[in-house]
Symmetry: C2
Subunit: 342 residues, 2 copies
DNA sequence: TTGAAAGCGCTAACAC
DNA sequence: GTGTTAGCGCTTTCAA
């Protein structure tokens, strides 16, 4: 005696019985295979409804087709996990991914790859068929993970262009455009002595923001704006600002490559007795939390992270269904958020 | 002809062949069933090593045992997703979960439940066997989700005590203790007129922080500290502070129920020309990003979120392996992080 | 204690 | 176009 048969969740078999067809036909309908008689298809769809049938992912996976899930891999240098997760950037990207994927009825599996061996395992995880593909979010641009996925021939899409060129799809921001937005705004408000606090030179995004800023300033007839480097932390921004102030005392505008450094700049400026934006205008990048909690609140360049994340998911899904397509990259435009600092 | 047989990932069958035993025996060894001859067990383990065998989750799941994965469900009111994910709180909890689970070789699946129907689907997801249990992180305390899991008899553990009492395990912070830490600090620095900015009364954590603060102040002989309410946003903190200042002009210390409201208080205080901490000392709660980016930097009460998240995962895993155990709750102690505001 | 064998729910040849 | 059938890798009675 099989107990509680009626409490079982309905299977393909059940639907087939109700519709009066074979399992195969139901499978075809459920998977949208074209070669099915219209009348039968309707009957099957009705049966699916009445039974409340939902495909069993494990069975699908085992039968050798799709896993019905994708991996969201967070990669980074050893032990950088704490830092990654504490950054709202990660949360916003994750949110965008989850939200988009949910409309397709799929839930991402979170895989942490914060060591070389963990990266290998992440690839294995997907290779084993636990996921149909991977969304890769790296903290460091020179990450080895994208390469591993490319080599394994597994569907994968990156958030942000990899430092090492690889044939892989990615979404990214038009960083130069964002930097130009900032430069233009500074010049438009009448700043004549503009400097910038750049991020680490080995981070592509930081490079792009710097070069975008320089080019924009050159267009405004100021090709030699002062530059100080930071590492994206508040403290480094504070130091860089102090440095800039020492080198260019008459400076009246600053563009920082991220909000945290801009917040640090605000601190240094206050300590130096300069009013913001009256004496010095400041613009940040990212529109992250510090931008709205700092005093004054930061004018900043915002990234459509959620949209980018959704697009990243879309690209991956496409790549999974249409195997063997060429890598694609989608670049998004940032916009300026005007607040009180510039 | 079966192609590329050698590139297949090893199965139980392969291990069995190498070890010279049956699949059943290998299965027993792999699953730690006691009734296996010691010698055979060793042989099997060796075979597992040489073949590099790893169990296939889909097959396990299909065969009716464990899914080998757990769901991390983010619940909240309709459309609150954006907000949730942008908050580093979520990221830190997620990080703690992922990090702990990884040591057990399992990866959480992220499930968003930001509507009543989505909550139903989240329960279904687990009921269908896609996950062995769920970790529930709610934005609102009166969430229906915990109840749904309890009713379905599915293993689940909550982050934070639910407003509606339910027989379910959870981890939480000793909020009263944290509030007392703040009160004590304020009194110890010599504040004589202390007020508090409380959070929404329907949030258990906010209630606890308020009552903990009041009790501590009562112990110091000040049972009637002024209270203003906010909703955890910076703006609400600013408003509440202005209100407090109007009602209690000679106030010299403030405890805000979270850092964002404390940052707002800082703003109001600056506008009112009060120096912090010289005129008015301020203490926040959470040790979140604004605490270290504000000026002055906030002295605040810190929660060991990652530890709490790890413990939450541990409780769930326990509950999964030892079915039918009583709900457990683990309360963690906060600590004071001294910075510049008090 | 160990092995043989029956599925778990589904997909994909292959035959009709 | 549709049905039949052979697995996918694993767990788990049931015998031995």
């Amino acid at each position: 005696m099989r107990p509680r048969k009626q409490h079982r969740t309905p299977t393909l078999e059940d639907v087939a019985r109700v519709a009066g067809v074979s399992r195969a036909t139901v499978s075809r309908v459920v998977n949208g295979v074209a070669t099915v008689d219209a009348a039968l298809r309707l009957k099957v769809m009705a049966a699916v409804d009445t039974t409340g049938y939902r495909p069993n992912n494990a069975a699908r996976q085992l039968a050798g087709r799709k896993a019905g899930s994708i991996a969201l891999v967070i990669s980074g240098s050893d032990g950088s996990a704490e830092q990654v997760f504490g950054d709202p950037f990660f949360g916003r990207v994750t949110g965008g991914v989850v939200k988009h994927l949910r409309t397709k009825g799929i839930h991402p599996t979170l895989v942490l790859a914060d060591s070389e061996s963990a990266r290998g395992e992440a690839v294995d995880y997907v290779r084993r068929g636990n996921a149909d593909g991977a969304l890769l979010v790296s903290t460091h641009a020179d990450d080895t993970l994208p390469g591993l996925f490319v080599d394994a021939g597994l569907p994968a899409v990156l958030f942000a262009r990899p430092a090492l060129h690889a044939p892989i799809s990615y979404v990214d921001l038009a960083h130069e455009v964002g930097a130009a937005l900032a430069a233009d705004r500074l010049v438009a408000r009448g700043c004549r002595r503009v400097a910038t606090i750049a991020g680490p030179i080995d981070v592509p995004a930081a490079q792009d923001r710097l070069s975008g800023f320089r080019q924009a300033m050159a267009r405004h007839g100021e090709p030699y704006a002062a530059v100080a480097y930071g590492n994206f932390t508040l403290e480094s921004g504070e130091l860089a600002m102090a440095d800039l102030l020492a080198r260019t005392p008459d400076l009246d505008g600053v563009f920082a490559a991220n909000d945290l450094m801009a917040a640090g700049a605000l601190r240094a400026l206050r300590d130096a007795g300069r009013a913001v934006p009256a004496d010095v205008a400041v613009i940040g990048f990212d529109d992250s939390a510090p931008a709205s909690t700092s005093t004054p609140r930061l004018t900043t360049v915002a990234q459509p992270l959620e949209e980018m994340a959704a697009e990243m998911s879309r690209l991956l899904l496409d790549q999974i269904t249409h195997a063997g397509t060429e890598p694609v990259c989608k670049i998004f435009d940032p916009h300026l958020v005007l607040r009180d600092s510039a």
